[in-house]
Symmetry: C2
Subunit: 794 residues, 2 copies
Amino acid sequence: MSDTTLNNLEPLDKESLRKIHAYWRACNYLAAGMIYLQENPLLREPLKPEHIKNRLLGHWGASPALSFTYIHMSRLIKSHDLNAIFMAGPGHGAPGVLGPVYLEGTYSEIYPNKSEDLEGMHQFFKEFSFPGGIGSHCTPETPGSIHEGGELGYSVSHAFGAAFDNPDLLVTVVVGDGEAETGPLATSWHSNKFLNPVRDGAVLPVLNLNGYKINNPTLLSRISHEELENLFKGYGWTPYFVEGSDPEVMHQRMAAVMEHCVNEIRKIQQAARAGGALVRPRWPMIVLRSPKGWTGPKEVDGHKVEGFWRAHQVPLSGVKENPAHLKQLEEWLRSYKPEELFDANGRLIAELKELAPKGVRRMSANPHANGGLLRKALRLPDFREYGVKVDKPGQTEVENTRPLGVFLRDIMKLNPTNFRVFGPDENTSNKLDDIYQVSKKMWLADYLPEDADGGELSPDGRVMEMLSEHTLEGWLEAYLLSGRHGFFSSYEAFVHVIDSMFNQHAKWLDISNDLAWRAPVSSLNLLITSTVWRQDHNGFTHQDPGFLDVVVNKSPEVTRIYLPPDVNTLLSVASHCLQSTDYFNVIVSDKQKHHQFLGMDAAIEHCTKGIGIWDWASNDQGVEPDVVMASCGDISTQESLAAVCLLREHFPQLKIRFINVMDLYRLTPESEHPHGLSDRDFDSLFTTDKPVIFNFHGYPWLIHRLAYRRTNHKNMHVRGYKEKGNINTPLELAIRNEVDRFSLAIDVINRVPGLNVAGAHVKEKLRGMQIGCSHYAYEHGVDKPEFASWKWPH
Amino acid sequence: MSDTTLNNLEPLDKESLRKIHAYWRACNYLAAGMIYLQENPLLREPLKPEHIKNRLLGHWGASPALSFTYIHMSRLIKSHDLNAIFMAGPGHGAPGVLGPVYLEGTYSEIYPNKSEDLEGMHQFFKEFSFPGGIGSHCTPETPGSIHEGGELGYSVSHAFGAAFDNPDLLVTVVVGDGEAETGPLATSWHSNKFLNPVRDGAVLPVLNLNGYKINNPTLLSRISHEELENLFKGYGWTPYFVEGSDPEVMHQRMAAVMEHCVNEIRKIQQAARAGGALVRPRWPMIVLRSPKGWTGPKEVDGHKVEGFWRAHQVPLSGVKENPAHLKQLEEWLRSYKPEELFDANGRLIAELKELAPKGVRRMSANPHANGGLLRKALRLPDFREYGVKVDKPGQTEVENTRPLGVFLRDIMKLNPTNFRVFGPDENTSNKLDDIYQVSKKMWLADYLPEDADGGELSPDGRVMEMLSEHTLEGWLEAYLLSGRHGFFSSYEAFVHVIDSMFNQHAKWLDISNDLAWRAPVSSLNLLITSTVWRQDHNGFTHQDPGFLDVVVNKSPEVTRIYLPPDVNTLLSVASHCLQSTDYFNVIVSDKQKHHQFLGMDAAIEHCTKGIGIWDWASNDQGVEPDVVMASCGDISTQESLAAVCLLREHFPQLKIRFINVMDLYRLTPESEHPHGLSDRDFDSLFTTDKPVIFNFHGYPWLIHRLAYRRTNHKNMHVRGYKEKGNINTPLELAIRNEVDRFSLAIDVINRVPGLNVAGAHVKEKLRGMQIGCSHYAYEHGVDKPEFASWKWPH
């Protein structure tokens, strides 16, 4: 059906049109009311300055189109018995969402003091954007929201994440034309190539071209209709346009177009589910071109407001002081005729009340938007069965992430419809490719014959690969928030691409944890691999272990960081993370071959403690050590141990304690993080006065930031990545950053009282070996075999 | 001219075709040679295992199409006397760039030991992707590169940044179809709405659909031709397709299409420059669909390689051990017939040599790609003339960023063609809008009548606003690297969106500083505003001061961080930053009204020192203080000073020293950062044993990370943002994070020996006031006037 045909349809009879418009008037009244009114919520007396809030905060501009879309979808939910949720890309337009959520009763059910009466409305208005009150974005406190829309760019990827593996679900997502300019949003339109109409639900994007951002026109509203249509056809969508400003006409068009889209979606799904060859559908989407601040003041003080950027926030700002503005506000508010919409008690009148869907069909009460309610614990195989045998520590080398790939494969097998694995074209590179034995990479774009040999592609796959960390993170976040499980692996340096998404998700979890009605969701599990120490040919751009520095700024209630040194610890910690809820778990583990140190039992014990003395590498049994060698991270641990070997060779009497830190937060004071060690335990591990040579995977100062309050902090000498790198061999890169065995051993000689003088010749020798290593690397392009093949002596 | 017509043209005569193909064979030979050969560079003896490098590193897959594009552009440079530079989006395909750069002689000019002879080629091959050698991306060491392509996503925005205000320049940018999946790249296609054909140069994107990423097909290569064409038409481009694999056919097509594009570009420019109404051009672009690893091994061990993802890196990996692979490699290398291409000395034969452009017309020698050569210092007005008068500190409130906007306005006036201001739709919100008096926002999309009142749009504007921090940062980076100046302002929380771009640019600067032939470029000046402490209605999502924690991880040689507390210090530091070179300057200053503390002379002195005692706020003159109150940041300084007032009122005998930190790196040891204070100076400021109550703008632990080695560190008690926030009033947000005046005063009472007992009742009183503040805020929605209007007493 063409746009033109659709535009001539009038699916709403007079009565339906009158009612839906009245319902929308109620929404708009609430949106404006919550921005302005602290008293006199239903204007039952003339509006006076004292009824106006002291501070006017909130975004009017995006609100009317949000509620417009919301209630039209609600209409279809009722008529077609749809299972739908709603996401507001312009989440700062929360008044446009809070209005319908309140009107359908959910808000009052969750927050009884915002009841459906005059006093409840009074509270609702007063607390909006008020200290300690209702946020002005679609925050976690908003019933039905799993997308806050505070930081822009992620609405479409979130919508898809919720739709995956929810075949009955329809996710309506309003995309603001401001948000549409961001990079993450611009590529997320391609998510339609990753949605399988048989087993996944549907996403109906509504691109709202209200034309303006905070102070500027938007790009997509200022290109030709033809370009806009081409763009979305190019993205693989079938766009339908609803354009105008006359409410009656727009209600009819929106009703017609939205119904058509829902029918198209159903047809696509039915055809796909009937079997036969799967083709990539050109899903419908809606372009809703409507004025910014629609139905609000047309002009203020002679300047255009409705349909211009001035409508972005508070269109009339001087109302408390300026009687003309107050009058204009009153006229505006009364234009919605609240007296026709709410009964004597202040409750929406019955004939409108019944327009909304009932119970969990209300988008604000749909359990998919409170995914913990639907979440089933993951069925996990016993991770111990995937471990490597370690007879003696430091003898064998294994790619640390490969057994994890086997473990993930079997998790996928046991949880075929509620577990997905995400990676930006890197699961094979990250050595997790065993997973393809059970689940291929989801692919619904064109398929070529050569894909059969090594493509690992399938429309049935649940491994999600696209070269966009933003899109993957967005998909995963919403997949979890809607009650499922997932695992994300990414190159270390480029995890910074999603720093801000991490921040926002951590904030979401932090707030959600305080909301009793939000059921726990699965943690977001992020494996950071292809780490800084093994970028032999990618060089400097690929060396950045700083994501952890971003993580530690967020709430200790929701952040966890693990650096397992080998395969068995990695498996143990991964299994733990996959069972946890409401955390952002970060695991750092390189993909290359590394030494294995702990057998499975020892690994489990070590992971349980999170930090511990490795007795087999220590010789301080029964006495106070002369020095503590501590390590955190795979390569760091290897070099620390190799340094211990060098030291033992030259100073057999030196008492060395070897500590490995697996759970980074163990270093923090217990008052600062739930995993923090008590000072007593910390002191008993690190001593109160002995030198500690701490070899860290990341930037060294992070350890100081975590441990600066500890008794022995002044003796902690931390080594880590110091931003010195190029296309170096592994050992040479370590040397340049002084995390290598020679530098560490020299550190010990320098720091242990008495050793410095006696050890002068040893230092010289070590320096010679170090220089020899560098020379060898620069000559041969590889590390000197005797060091590259280092083993712990037995 | 249609695609079909173009495809039937054969612009190259037989001889030209033979030569350009021979030149390309030379490029491909070099690309393969640098990946494999450590000896026998021209295969003048049979290939043996010992000729092969010990480690095979590099990316073959993208290389042939890069050199193909490079040499076809070079052809047009010669025939049309173009001024062009080249950017390789798939910068990891550096062999495809290094080859032509070496062949046109620039490489040998800059690195004489990689001479144009057998020994030079030997060195060139050997050092590629070799420790300490030639990087395998288009690193700063690569002549002609201002785009490394290590992290993907920024090639198109970089291309536009270089083209702005360079009317004669043509920037050829190859975009990989992998990179094209990233968010930043996906939105950067819209940059064409910000390029003015009159005063700006042109960008010719070549989207190389080689079909594959490291292990996956690419999205854009697996959608229909029609969708692809729609997509780019929708983005506002006119796409031309060059598709195939037969070199002869492809040379003719590329020559025809590229020449057509160059002619179209010239026509657009001529038409626009002839005057008349400016319409947004639909610039040409090229879609080059060619096999990945083009001309390389078709199959290896029975698996498809050319035209498949297996060609991504090293197509034949076992050559040193596997004689069959060695043989295949030799056949592959000899297929380019090096003996026909290089003379007896190993130099490209003369008839090919002359194909390349000469001198600075060579893309590798174009000074626009070494912008410091072209950079002219900015003409700056005297910033002192923009200051505010401060008779007495702490009496008047001014929006801190507004005078900066006036200063920027006048800089724009004095530097009309080499200075731009960037902001994601936020210059007005950030109170910098005075700049529009001189330069509007660049806008070449549709213009509506209402824009005349408050739109501030013009195709001649040099204020760049788009809701994509990625695009802005990319534009600015390249604008600077090509020799110009700029200023970028952004909301604090969302600067994290470009964390990874900051990392990459800092790395670029760090390496460039070590290259004598790269002339200094202007610093990147980033104003972080709309800060954490004033997000009264945006709430938690908009509260994140953690960008500084990312910055401090990068090289101290290139990073600077300033937190000016008021207008005059902000102006002074901004003026300083705008004159500096080769830094990433970060300035943190909120846009709201704040107290003014320093008159202009005092501000200049304070900025020169970067840290200092504020005598007027201290009463320890001539004696050792009882306590040091330190502050860093605008709000932090206000609250610290207000705390001093409270303390003076109750403890007139208490000797307080007040220190303000403007230059954050002054806190670092001098061994760690050029701005670091000596320990002696630090101790004389902060004492060696008195309590220090440090009120910081950002996350408090950052101060510990910088100052943990200082003598008095154990007595430093740092307050800052602790991730506690919501829609709070300013004072309430401060209270929740304990950076408010009451918390700070209580801190002092707790920490100064003797004060705790005597001050018990004062603490109680302060706590009462604090609770009173909270109650007031929660009741009235604003801060209690007596605290909101706090002034420093005189």
